[in-house]
Structures are given as C-alpha cells and as structure tokens.
Amino acid sequence: MFPFVFEWSWAWDAGRIVFMGLLYMVLGAMGLGLLYAFVMTWLKLTGREELYERLWLRFPFTLW
C-alpha cells in the first residue's frame, strides 16, 4: 500500500497503478474536502471575512 512496504514495486504494472492511483485519488479528494472545511472554519472564526468570501466555492464546484 505504501512505498516503504516491502511488496511495493516501482516496476510498470498497469493493474497496480490503476488500483493505487484510484485509491489515492479518492483519499486525496476526501482529504481535500476535509481540509477545505477546516480552513474555512478557521478563516471565519479568526475574522478573515474577505478571504473567506473569496474562497467560498460556488457552482459548478459545489454542483449547487
């Protein structure tokens, strides 16, 4: 699962690259979503309203 686990191989293996690529893409999307929520909460709580408004995602990024 990680490059430091002994089974990890950098050799070309389409199956592994697709599987791990999609896995880390999904985990990255989840992490980015959470990070965005944490940062926006911090901006709002610390009174950085202008930056908060600029970073507030609008359609189509929220599909809303």
Binding site: G15, F19, M30, F38
Partner: protein, 432 residues
C-alpha cells in the same frame, strides 16, 4: 438536559419511554457482544461454518447490509449530482430523505465492517489486507472501498450531528458543519465512485469462481456479469430499504415525516430499476443455464436440491422480483399505501434471497465427485451477532431521530405550538 437536545419545532416521547423502548435493542446488542466475545476468546469454532461453508450468516448479512445501504449513495448521487445538474424538479423530494438515507447507509456500513471484524477471526491482523494489498483481488478492492466509503458516510453524517440544537450553539461546530455540508457534492461523487466499485466487486467476487459453476459467469473485460448485476440490484433495492425504514419510523412515532410524493418517487425509481434488473437477471439466468451449466457437465437441477430447492429461484426472480417490479412501476398500485410498502418489502426480501443464494448455495453445491450437497444452519453465536447488528442499527437511527433534525419536512407536517406560535425551524441544515 434531554429536552435541550431535542430539535426545535418537533415533539418527542419522554426520556423514560425512550429508555424503556431502547432496552429491547440494548438486549440484542448485549447478545451480539457476548457472541463476539466468545468468538474472539474461543475462535471461529463457535460458529457452524466449516471447510465447506467459509461464508455463513455473517456474509449474507454483510452483503445484504451493503446492498441495502446503497440507498445512501444512490440518493446522494441523485440529489447532489443528477438533481443539481440535470433534473432539478425532483431534488426537493429527495432532500426530504437524504439525511435519513445517510444515517441508514452509515449504520449498514459500520455494522457490516464490525461483523467482518468478527468474521475474520483474527481482527488484530485486519490491517494486513491494507498494508499488504493484493491489487488483483476483488476482496481487496471491496475492503478498501467499504472502509473509504464508511469514511465518506461519516463525513456526510457529521454535518447532521453538528446541527444538533446544543452542538450548533458552538460557532466552531456550526461553521464547520455548514462548510462541510457546502461541499457535500464532492463526497457524494466520491461515495458514488466507491459504491459502484465495491457493490460490483462483491458480485464479481462470486462471478470469478471458476471452480464453482453455480456462481461462475462470463462477462465484459475483467468483470463477470455478476459485477453489473450486483450494482443494478443494490440500486434497485437500496431506495426501497430507505423507504421502508422511514415508513416504519412513521408508524412507530405516529407522525407523517415526509410527504407522500417522496415515497412514490422512491418507489418509482426503485421500480424501474428493479424491472430492468429483472430483465437482465432473467437473461443472465437463461444464459447460465444453457451455457455455464452444460459446459460444467451438470444439469440445471443439480444445483437445486433440498433444502435449497428450485423454490429459491422462483422466490428470488418470480415472487420477490417480478411481482414487486410490477407493483412499483404501475402508478395506480404504488399510489396505494399498502401496496407500495408491500412492493418495497418484497423488493428488499428478493435482494436478501439473492445475496443468500450467492453466498450459501454456491458453497452447498458439490464440486468434487465424492462431495455431497451440503447444508448449513448458523449457531446461536452467529445469530447473536446478526441480531446485535439489528439492535445497533435501530438504536442509532432512533437516537438520530430523537436528537437530530433528520426529517426537514417534519415541523411543517406536524406543527408544534409554543406560546401561541407555530415553531417551524427544527435546525435542519440549510444551504448558505
């Protein structure tokens, strides 16, 4: 304290009544905990699983829970993605149930993972499947996907928990919950992606069993047809399970929680998905009977012996497949409350039979000339875990209903007067 946690504008039973009612579910959970303790202490010999039945009741429960929990991802997909972009009009109906769908999904997936934790026998080594991932295994894909999707469901559940009346008073929680809900479409998209693959791979896992002609299927590229059939059946039954849970909650509370139009919409979506699923399922069964079966040197009836007789296929496809599909796609039938609920229940039962057949009957059919047709019945410890999970699910749903604004339409449908004025704001999540 209890009253302070209940959302504005809704009525709940007294704490005493709620605690007494919860005792039954706590008893079921206690049975599950005792069973799990015995399995952890003494091992899997506490079950009736053996070398023939490596999959037992827990896997049937798992597969059924995961499929029925598909209502969460599919409703989220329709509400936050399809509804937002293409079909605007039905989104309002689905928004009335999306919170409940997320809670049901969370319950189903957390329960399924907890059961798997007991089922693997060595939970302390559960991390091996992540750490030393075999990327060519369908089970590895399922494990990654359901773990990640439980994370997605937890994130989707969080804004609802943080909209609790008391928690909302803390600005940190209020802003965080609101922001998280603002980007819920991202999580809905991730959830849809994950669900598509793990629902499919759960079916694909059986379809690639070359030595088990009952389950083996050809297919498209690396995916056997069961991959697509499992996705199709789960999105056909998931919304019906959500519908049933809400209907039972309405009956238990004596209140209307969502408008009738929402129920009929869910039934219509499920009905058409079930109808199309039935067509491809029947085609798949015919192709299997005339393709895989003769090539394996067997006849159709070799697979259907007591107690897993031919009645199972009649029940799965005919009684609990075609009939509910007809009920749910016919407007005059689904408009009638009783028929709508019967249709939804039959749809759910059909799905459970399908998962039972693939898990148990596949293993019951002999694969060696000296083997016999086997049968399996779970031990009380296995039932204990199963019923414990049911108790857990009902308790979590009841707690969510009591303390969170689960149904946004509830205050409007059941107005509560306080000091001469109607309270309409339950604290339900609103878009900024």
């Amino acid at each position: 304290m209890d009253l302070a946690l209940i959302p504005n504008g809704v009525q709940r039973c007294s704490l005493k009544t709620f605690v007494l009612w919860s005792l039954l579910w706590l008893a079921l959970i206690a049975w599950g905990v005792v069973s799990a303790f015995l399995v952890f202490w003494k091992g899997l010999n506490q079950t009736n699983m053996n070398h023939y039945f490596a999959f037992g009741l827990w896997i049937v429960f798992d597969l059924s829970l995961i499929a029925l929990g598909a209502g969460a991802f599919f409703t989220g997909f329709l509400t936050h993605i399809v509804g937002a972009v293409f079909i605007y009009s039905f989104r309002e109906n689905l928004r009335a149930i999306i919170n409940a769908a997320v809670v049901i999904g969370f319950i189903c997936y957390s329960a399924a993972i907890a059961m798997l934790g007991v089922d693997i026998g060595q939970p302390l080594r559960a991390w091996f499947i992540f750490w030393h991932a075999n990327v060519h295994s369908m089970l590895t894909e399922v494990t990654f996907c359901i773990s990640a999707y439980l994370g997605v469901l937890t994130i989707e559940y969080l804004p609802l928990i943080l909209s609790n009346r008391k928690l909302k008073q803390l600005p940190e929680f209020d802003i965080f919950g609101d922001t998280l809900h603002h980007v819920v479409a991202l999580f809905a998209a991730v959830g849809t992606f994950l669900s598509f693959f793990h629902q499919g791979s759960l079916g694909g896992m059986f379809g690639v069993l070359f030595g088990r002609p009952f389950a083996f299927r050809e297919g498209f590229f690396i995916w056997p047809w069961t991959f697509f059939l499992f996705i199709h059946s789960s999105i056909a039954a998931g919304p019906c399970f959500t519908l049933l849970c809400i209907w039972v909650t309405q009956k238990a509370t004596g209140k209307q929680l969502v408008r009738k139009a929402t129920f009929t919409l869910l039934a219509k979506i499920s009905g058409w998905l079930l109808a199309t699923y039935m067509i491809v399922k029947i085609a798949d069964t015919i192709a299997w009977a005339y393709g895989v079966v003769p090539r394996a040197g067997l006849s159709f009836m070799d697979f259907y012996q007591a107690p897993y007789g031919v009645w199972l296929i009649i029940a799965e496809i005919g009684i609990f497949g075609v009939i509910p599909a007809i009920i749910l796609i016919t407007p005059k039938f689904r408009e009638r409350d009783n028929l709508l609920v019967i249709g939804a229940l039959m749809n759910v039962i059909g799905l459970v039979i399908n998962r039972f057949v693939f898990s148990i009957q596949t293993l019951a059919v002999p694969v060696m000339p000296f083997d016999q047709f086997m049968t399996y019945f779970p031990s009380w410890q296995e039932w204990g875990i199963g019923f414990g999970v049911i108790g857990y699910g009902i308790l979590i749903f009841a707690l969510s209903y009591r303390y969170l604004p689960l149904f946004p339409q509830e205050p409007a449908l059941n107005p509560v007067e306080v000091l001469g004025g109607v309270v309409t704001d339950s604290g339900a999540i609103k878009r900024s």
